[in-house]
Symmetry: C2
Subunit: 424 residues, 2 copies
């Protein structure tokens, strides 16, 4: 360890400099819980807010509004405003404890910051598996901006489909959505779209409702991580839906107005939502440390990056994995890891106790007031499970601002329907 610099910083402010990369589930959890009297905290992230991802799919059709599920990370508790950097971390010099950053807003601004301790929680990207056309034509569902683009595209497609002089085949294409990937995100997006079509399109675009179709393309089984009985239930429910098709295949190319399946079939469509797992971000790829086959940074069970000899660099959430105990890439894991780490850093927990993950279970919304609850003790489907789904998320929303607005949005959607205003 660079004792010289360490002692200097001690003299100046008697606080170690803790740098957090990312403001997602992992990073935000560290930021919220870290003892700001003990650490001089600096956050580096390309977004200045936390996003409650489990409800992101609901914003694509307006069940919830975008700003109802995000929380600014700047707070009056920050000593001064320069403690948050709207930047990407681009590179890391472990030996000299120097982080390279690149400003999001000013492309010319590249700079470095040093740290005493570093928490890497940069998350992951959607995996395109190198399929041609995905980057250009498909929509991801990771950030609020992604959700807004999807919502805008859906509303645009509806407006185009009812426009004058439209040919029937073109109208059908516009109203056909292809979802690639049958994980929770793909299924929940499909569920929200279904509700939108049943509840709002039925009233507002009347005849067009019959022309709306959805295809879910999954190479394996949908909701693979769920209990098999729940998964079968979901599959049956989905298959029973009119104008919904579940295809076991994979997409080999995405075009402007269609996708191509493995067997060569071309499916004309107006929207492709791509959600097929994770790939490492550029920063993670760039990092010269031990990684697993999926490109995740390997840590020990204290969340310390294996190859960092200084013992001051931690990695958690989607960008990392514990070498001996592989963990699922979920909000739950990232959030718990953040809390574990702050307990250790704050001195509240013995640093010899390793991180242990107790799975609290999974929830997934499948549409028309039905959800799946898959916990070690309880396996539940249907309306009760949906109530559980809603209340679970409500209590876990990180702030009162969100806890007030989310039920308000739900109520408005129920009473007045979703807002189909298009202004993008």
């Amino acid at each position: 360890m660079n004792l010289q610099r360490f002692s200097t910083s001690k003299v100046i402010q008697d606080r170690q400099k803790l740098v957090i990369l990312g403001t997602g589930w992992g990073g935000y959890s560290v930021l919220k819980n870290i003892d700001k009297k003990k650490y001089d905290v600096i956050v580096v992230s390309p977004r200045n807010h936390f996003l409650f991802t489990p409800l992101l799919a609901s914003t694509t059709v307006g069940t919830l509004e975008f700003r109802s599920i995000i929380q600014p990370v700047r707070e009056s508790r920050f000593r001064d405003a320069t403690h948050f950097h709207l930047s990407h971390a681009t590179n890391l010099d472990l030996d000299n404890k120097i982080l390279h950053c690149h400003s999001v807003l000013n492309p010319e601004l590249k700079y470095t910051i040093n740290y005493d301790k570093l928490v890497i929680a940069v998350g992951a990207l959607s995996n395109t598996f190198g399929v041609p056309g995905v980057e250009e034509h498909a929509f991801f569902l990771k950030e609020v901006l992604d959700a807004r683009k999807i919502r805008n595209r859906i509303l645009t497609n509806f407006e185009l489909a009812v426009g004058p002089k439209i040919e029937e085949s073109e109208s059908k294409r516009l109203l056909h959505t292809v979802i690639v990937g049958g994980g929770p995100t793909g299924v929940e997006f499909g569920a929200e779209l279904y509700d939108f079509v049943q509840q709002d399109v039925a009233k507002l675009y009347k005849e067009q409702q019959k022309a709306v179709t959805v295809t879910l393309v999954e190479s394996d089984r949908i909701l693979a991580s769920f209990d098999s009985r729940l998964r079968s239930h979901a599959e049956n429910k989905l298959r029973a839906r009119e104008r919904f098709t579940l295809i076991q295949s994979s997409v080999t190319e995405v075009f402007k107005d269609s996708v191509k399946l493995k067997d060569g079939t071309i499916l004309p469509c107006g929207l492709v939502v791509w959600s097929t797992g994770l790939a490492p971000r550029w920063f993670t790829q760039n990092l010269k440390v031990a990684k697993n086959t999926r490109g995740q940074i390997l840590t020990d069970s204290y969340l310390q990056v294996l190859e960092d000899k200084s013992g001051s660099v931690y990695a958690l959430g989607d960008c990392a994995d514990i070498a001996d105990v592989p963990l699922p890439c979920t909000a739950q894991v990232a959030e718990r890891q953040g809390r574990y780490l702050t307990d250790v850093l704050n001195g509240k927990k013995d640093s010899k106790i390793p991180f242990e993950f107790k799975n609290m279970g999974m929830l997934a919304y499948i549409g028309s007031y039905e959800a799946l609850t898959d916990t070690p003790d309880v396996k539940l489907q249907g309306f009760t499970s949906w109530l559980l789904w809603r209340s679970a998320y409500l209590t876990r929303l990180g702030s009162w601002r969100l806890r007030m607005q989310v039920p308000m949005d739900w109520l408005k959607t129920l009473m007045f329907g979703r807002d189909i205003s298009r202004f993008d």
Copy 2:
């Protein structure tokens, strides 16, 4: 009148075809009140929602959210979805009663529709007075998208201003906003910005608050249409504000990062909001009918376009003016005209009674819980007037969805501050 076609349409559906251009105060007022059993209504507008303009300034800083003040025009009452066209009206053939349209979403789609009756309510544009650089670099405040752009720019400027390695002069430039035009819109935007700086920037960007400056450039007096005592009160209040400057001059050029005044002074700034009156839209300019010097379509006091011999074309709101009784360009006028016209068209009002405008007064918010109320009977300033301002708008919001959400937004702003998440 083209009796032939009229009688045909009678036979087919026993309803006259009423085409409404625009979904602003005028057009939406006609749409809401027209008897849909009597008329086959078709709406042509480049936006599929109504916008409550008096609260638009509040959305630029997040006091209110964008979707809290817009209302979709599609409703289940529409017989089918093709009755709304997301298009610009581009031209009009009065003799043959044919309207030319251009789709917003499909640039290749140009088409015509015929009408029995036509209501022109296309509003107006912001007037740039041909000042160079305005279109490219200044921000208008007319539509929700404009407000979103302003909000994004403000949040971007703050993030840049606290970024690493920033020079003090650059930081000061970024935090300097120039408002051009001292009408109600300019003043209210300034008021919202002021509240944001006092209430939120103070907490979240701490030191930067001192660097925030606002300059309001107005060639005449501010709030010229208001009672002189109220106007003076507002002027004094504004002038007393720290870091606020009121300049009596005009802007002769707008650059990427500054504006130039008449006397050659260059004011470096990070945002220019342009609000200096109205100019006719392209459709209005293109129309070959009698207009006043400001380019507004002239009508008689029954709102019938003077030069239309068929007696079936009406014009109202910002795009029109009554020949003998010039009216202010306000939401109030447009809304009343819409109601007057539907009363006549629905047969509820004798078509011999001309439109008459009784001014109910004006309101303007000037910041820190103070507003001006200027009615024929009451002239009020201060906090009470602010309460009046809020409740007046609340009751006039056109739907329960908005009437629920707007107070919720106000409450959230009060309790938690404004959302400074930047994701654009």
